[in-house]
Amino acid sequence: MNERADVIVIGGGIVGTTTAFFLRRRKRSVILLERGLTGQQASGVNFGGVRRQGRALEQLAMSNRALQTWRRSRELLGEDVEFLPSGHTRVCYHAHDAEYFHRYAADARAYDLDLEVLEGAAMFERFPFLGRDVIAASISPLDGHANPRLAAPAFGRAAARLGARVVENTEVVRVEKEAGGFCVESAAGDVYRAEQVLICAGAWANTLSTQFGEPVPLVARGPQMAVTEPVPYVFKASMGVYTSIKEESVYFRQVERGNIVLGGGPPGPADADTRRASVLAENTVAQLAQFRRMVPAMRPLHVIRVWSGVESYLPDSEPVIGPSSKADGLFYAFGFSGSGFQIGPGVGETLAELLDAGSTPIDLSSFSIRRFQRASLTHAQSLTSETSP
């Protein structure tokens, strides 16, 4: 089977499906190739936080774009992906983290991110359920959370309704540059051609970028997720601990049905080749202790399930977004390091703009794949362990 379109998108997660969606709105033809089913990997197993707060300042422009899409998601998609504008709150236990909250709030204002930092009595009045070890809370009122199991598939279906060719159960084995564009071959021997290709294949992008001489040090890790039984909907919040101590960095969100989604702490093992990731029992036990500290009222509740998945991380915890350094017409968006869900639609919208119009006002330079090609790689390690929304 031979097919042709303006753009081939490789990878059907939140980035791929939203890029296809926005490309169709720009009337560009697009073929989306997904090895399994849309949104099955990192996009479907993550925490579901829709937060701008806490992102590197360079991400905020796309993150703001994304929020607009999340807020209009029901209208855009014709279905409900359960976006709840609950606000997003970071809390901390240590004085230097509280100081950072104030600094970040000041810096973020320039990027239209308005945060409110509360401490002491005012904080406990707003959030009476917080454990008494918490010393400060930074609130982003317009942020929230959504259902990661529904979102990317919904964008994929919306893209298909707009005319995108969404091809699931199709593994890409080769991408080759040829005259006029690219030739993409599937495991089944189908050939797809396009002028432009976007590789947003998450933990598997490195295999393809390596084919073009652009390997990146991508590492697969498994988020340690859990969910409680449904209980009265009282927290109405998405909250996480901001800290440099990995074990402390837990986060939760309560959905309207009452379940509380839990996550955080050190990641677990994940294998991109087998597509398997697991939650270590020890991590669950440790996580629960941290939740009792953060919100003592959770103590009587019960976890009914844990899960993990394959997320991929880059050493500086920032993604690769933008044009290939080796091949004209090739673009990348992957390595979101546990923070790709919220920003996904903003990245998709920006990439659609870039691919269609040839440029975007959004500055993507800090996300360039070139940064992994310098002679001596300095790993800009993030000082925080805030790995997830």
Binding site: L37, G44, R149, L150, P153, R157, T228, E229, R257, V279, L280, A281, E282, T284, V285, L288, A289, F291, R292, M298, R299, P300, L301, H302, V303, I304, R305, V306, W307
Partner: protein, 462 residues
């Protein structure tokens, strides 16, 4: 240094496995969720209760007593850990919780004897208060001396339908009707296989006599239509279509529902065991050889938790699995005994197959369920919700359908909705049941308290 062998489950399979291990000179750990041993079928009543074994276990009184006596004799020779749930398994170690106390236990060999629960096909109204599983109705009587209601209807199919009805009658409870979806013709067809265990067949006939003498209406070949009830008061009656097409209404305040049993395979799943779709049973079962070896070295599966063949088979399978484990760790065992057990188990396998022919799982009901029928009790998800995700979202596989519809996301984690849910998906997607796949198992096996903390006396990391 002696091998550490852990047995999960102190029912017929687990007790006989532990016994074989003790006879070989080992001191196994026996972990059980319950307060007392016996599993479900031979569940022991609370201390201080006075009913005799004959009252509690009827024709199985001698077997029950033998099993309980055997366990009592074993107790000083094993590490018995009751009131304890195994909630996760990793290579060569398992995680338990007792109350809120977490412990991690290492093992060289693990024999999983996790037993079974009832297999359920939804019917409109089965979510009403007063609807119970057949096994649940039996436990209420056996373990607590209670009938689940003052006028009880038993509905479904399988030998348990008649056994529980007869037990209720003998205990003086009111059984308003026994409604069997299977026909007499199906029972006749199964006769050759059922003759594999002649005593069982005789017992079945005796049960029918008890019901006849008590004038309990028994209807066969029925199709459940509705369990009538109200949100506040629960069950008020049952409506079924009879074999001749006529509607039948039976007033009642409780319904006991069930269609045979389904193995509790979550622990086998967490232990990494591979599953295979069994065409005859139309279920996914963990792979095990004739002796109970799974595909994972050191993991053995025995009893109804691996494959439902009844308590007598479970005792033999438990012993056989222990012998296999002993052999695999280099201890000599009687191959003669193992052969004898294998032959006996073959008869039970044939009998179980006969039961399925006599009392088939009514897969065809799934496609006919009205859209408003709740399929997932925990999350109140209906057949219509499930069909919607198949049709509108292309979800033709169990985990995908779960992600979109929430079927299987509730507290029971698919125990009571997975089979019927898969049948609904298969019918709507027009694919074979096998193609729907099975729900991915995840820890914890049952709800895990957020108050979970390490056991004070023990290190949790090994």
């Amino acid at each position: 240094m002696a091998a550490t062998v852990i047995v999960i489950g102190a029912g017929p399979a687990g007790v006989r496995a532990a016994q074989a291990l003790v006879e070989a000179g080992l001191r196994p750990v026996v972990i059980d969720e319950g307060r007392r041993d016996g599993g479900q079928i031979y569940r022991r009543q609370p201390e201080g209760f006075k009913r005799t074994y004959e009252t509690l276990y009827g024709t199985e009184a001698a077997r029950a007593r033998a099993l309980h006596d055997a366990f009592d004799a074993l107790r000083p020779k094993i590490d018995y850990v009751p009131d304890t749930l195994v909630w996760n398994i990793e290579p060569n170690a398992l995680h338990t919780v007792s109350g809120t106390r977490h412990r991690k236990l290492a093992f060289d060999a693990l024999i999983i004897c996790s037993g079974a629960t009832d297999r359920l096909m939804p019917v409109p109204g089965w979510h009403h208060a007063g609807a119970y599983s057949l096994g649940g109705a039996q436990v209420a009587l056996k373990s607590q001396g209670c009938a689940i209601g003052s006028r009880v209807v038993m509905m479904g199919t399988g030998p348990l339908l008649y056994l529980v009805a007869a037990q209720y009658v003998k205990a003086g409870a009111t059984v308003s009707a026994v409604l069997d979806t299977s026909t007499f013709a199906q029972r006749l067809r199964a006769l050759p296989q059922l003759l594999a265990i002649p005593s069982a067949l005789r017992k079945g006939v005796a049960l029918m006599r008890v019901l006849k003498d008590a004038r309990v209406p028994v209807h066969r070949g029925i199709t459940p239509v509705e369990i009538r009830g109200t949100p506040e008061h629960g069950v008020q009656g049952v409506r079924v279509r009879q074999a001749d097409g006529a509607m039948l209404q039976v007033g009642c305040d409780a319904v006991a529902l069930g269609y045979h049993l389904r193995p509790e395979t979550q622990l086998a799943d967490l232990a990494g065991c591979e599953f295979r779709f069994d065409q005859a049973l139309q279920q996914w079962l963990p792979i095990a050889d004739v002796d109970g070896r799974s595909n994972v070295k050191g993991i053995y599966l025995a009893g109804d938790g691996a494959r439902v063949r009844g308590a007598d088979a479970a005792e033999r399978a438990g012993r056989l699995a222990a012998l296999a484990a002993l052999k695999d760790i280099g201890m000599t065992c009687s191959e003669d005994e193992a052969n004898k057990l294998r032959l006996q188990l073959n008869r039970f396998t044939r009998f179980a197959s006969g039961l399925r022919t006599a009392f088939p799982w009514p897969a065809r009901f799934a496609a006919a369920l009205p859209d408003e029928t709740i399929v997932c009790r925990c999350e109140a998800i209906t057949a219509g919700d499930l069909r919607r995700v198949v049709n509108d979202m292309g979800a033709k596989e169990a985990n995908r359908a779960k992600a979109f519809s929430r079927v299987g996301m509730g507290r029971c984690q698919g125990r009571f909705c997975a089979h019927a849910g898969a049948e609904v998906i298969a019918a709507e997607a027009r694919v074979p049941l096998e193609a729907v796949g099975r729900l991915r198992g995840q820890a914890p096996v049952k709800p895990l308290p957020m108050a979970l903390a390490p056991h004070k006396d023990l290190e949790t990391s090994e």
